[in-house]
Symmetry: C2
Subunit: 334 residues, 2 copies
């Protein structure tokens, strides 16, 4: 089905020193490989851009191996099978995988997942019904476990993960307060996602505004940002509050990232747990089923920012790290 002989990919050209720059990436044209027995050739329709990629770009010890230099940047993808020598996958099948920043990719099928697009758009499998949705589901259900009536705070509330956390918590009867950057995002979080309130951290009164939005204190926190956002939320915690630590995007470029008032962890007897959703695969089947049903019923909605074409990926990724995206950041490849 594919007749083209080459495709484009983006490799890591150099590790960032501080902020990510365009020079960290290199666009290459490479030959489409011949398939070995058992392999599948996929044309990627969407590439997912996610904050965790920043960690992989550094050589610093992190929870996962560093992204290798001169290799295709890591990344989740959804697309369609264009050639197959694997009996489990047919040409035309929609599939999700980790084929990276590339127009095409080859898989042996092991980490490839068939996707049903009859009720759910293909791109949602990179967002609310994919890894970001699962991070939300796991942190909320397995760490925060809020009871109905409790107050939940979610940072990066309009983002791919935060938007799902808040909607799931609302469905569970919680009071949900988001933190987001700018009035447009805050409006969206309240009016379209249905959060009870959203605090604009760019307005300059984060601590006071969050206090006003959480009159009964805070019982659970889903943290994507860290820094001032986390400090402000911790300052509002009730006794025995739970903190799911999913991301610390405020410090991904190497800025200092303290928790200023560690006393609160003791005084309020807080529980805090950092997690990486790919280490909890035992929950994915249940979680994705629940998320798929909620997305299909439109009880969970989401927004996407879509960059056009592979060459736009580096700029879109840099924007993501500065919060320029609105909702899930994707790159449309076809």
């Amino acid at each position: 089905m594919t007749t083209q002989a080459t495709y484009q990919r983006i490799v890591l050209a150099a590790r960032p020193r501080g902020a990510v720059t365009p020079e960290n990436f290199r666009l290459e044209t490479v030959p489409v490989p011949e398939l070995a027995d058992g392999e599948v050739l996929i044309r990627n329709h969407y590439l997912s851009l996610d904050p965790y990629m920043r960690g992989r770009m550094s050589k610093a010890a992190s929870y996962a191996a560093s992204q290798a230099l001169d290799e295709t940047m890591i990344g989740g993808t959804v697309g369609q099978v264009v050639a197959s020598r694997n009996p489990l996958f047919r040409v035309g099948d929609h599939v999700g995988g980790m084929l990276g920043w590339a127009e095409m990719g080859v898989s042996d099928g092991a980490l490839l997942r068939k996707l049903d697009i009859s009720h759910i758009p293909l791109s949602a499998y990179l967002g609310a019904v994919g890894m970001p949705g699962m991070a939300a589901w796991y942190g909320l259900n397995q760490i925060m476990a809020p009871a109905a009536g409790e107050t939940v705070v979610v940072s990066a509330a309009s983002g791919a993960v935060g938007s799902v956390v808040g909607q799931l918590a609302r469905l569970g009867g919680c009071r949900v307060v988001g933190i987001a950057g700018g009035p447009e995002k805050c409006d969206y979080v309240v009016k379209e996602l249905g959060f009870d309130a959203c605090v604009d951290y760019k307005a300059g009164n984060l601590e006071a505004d969050l206090a006003a939005a959480t009159p009964d204190g805070v019982d659970a926190i889903f943290e994507n940002v860290g820094g001032d956002c986390l400090d402000a939320a911790l300052a509002r915690t009730n006794a025995f509050a739970r903190v799911a630590l999913c991301g610390l995007i405020a410090g991904y470029n190497g800025a200092e990232m303290p928790i200023k008032n560690a006393r609160l962890l003791l005084i309020n007897r807080l529980s805090l747990r950092g997690f990486i959703i790919t280490e909890h695969m035992e929950y994915w089947q249940q979680g994705l089923q629940e998320l798929a049903a909620l997305v299909a019923d439109r009880r969970i909605t989401y927004r996407e920012t879509v960059a056009d074409g592979l060459a736009a990926a580096p700029q879109a990724f840099m924007g993501l790290l500065h919060g320029h995206n609105f909702g899930k950041q994707l790159v449309k490849l076809i």
Copy 2:
């Protein structure tokens, strides 16, 4: 059995501004009260001095009500019944209670515990077989839950709590590394308590010394101190390490108390939980039984620093907050 008409007590005279000073306390002579029906009069033999008392002296929101001004300072005591109008307690019974910084006290019996001193010295019920021992037992078993062979770090290792944490962890087959102030305490921690190593935080190379003492990283931390001690221990954590946060004595006088590198909580997927042992009474029976057996068998040893007479309590307490005590800080009243 008592013929005296008055006794001495120490009340909170003024709340500290920063460091605790002698002016925060006032020694008073008060009349021995008449017992009502059901009440017990106790002569206290030992008063326990503990870091948590610093928190109660402040008006700042804490996990417990503030110590009231002009009232007897809160504190655990062991002593002997000298008069009783309660059928459950007889004159001569040894009892533990919370009668505060006072030579005598009246109890309705509700929070009074009879103590068996046939195999365990009375004072140990304020230490290894009391609240400090339980804090150690709970944090180790219910939060850190280290497996044999894992590395455990304990700050304030020679203290009433830390010494028990380390000995319990050693009995469980862990590699145990203490942090303590000065060569004398470190010597004691290794040679008498049997820790595998102890790092002197006053030697000025905490981070490097702790790294050298934990060649396989750190799997669990029992934190009594905070600040540099906690930062150094966090820097050595392996993936999925657990942190039991029992105290933050480094910041009890109002100093800033940040966790400098919160990134580690995420990168290493740490679990951290602050706890107050008096909120987990459901474990006390089991825990105290185990601790009593270990102390009676001398498989857990401890050291005490004993101040003489009630009037010495304020100075001893100020010393405790600066680490001048060696092991459990007591005040001997009789």
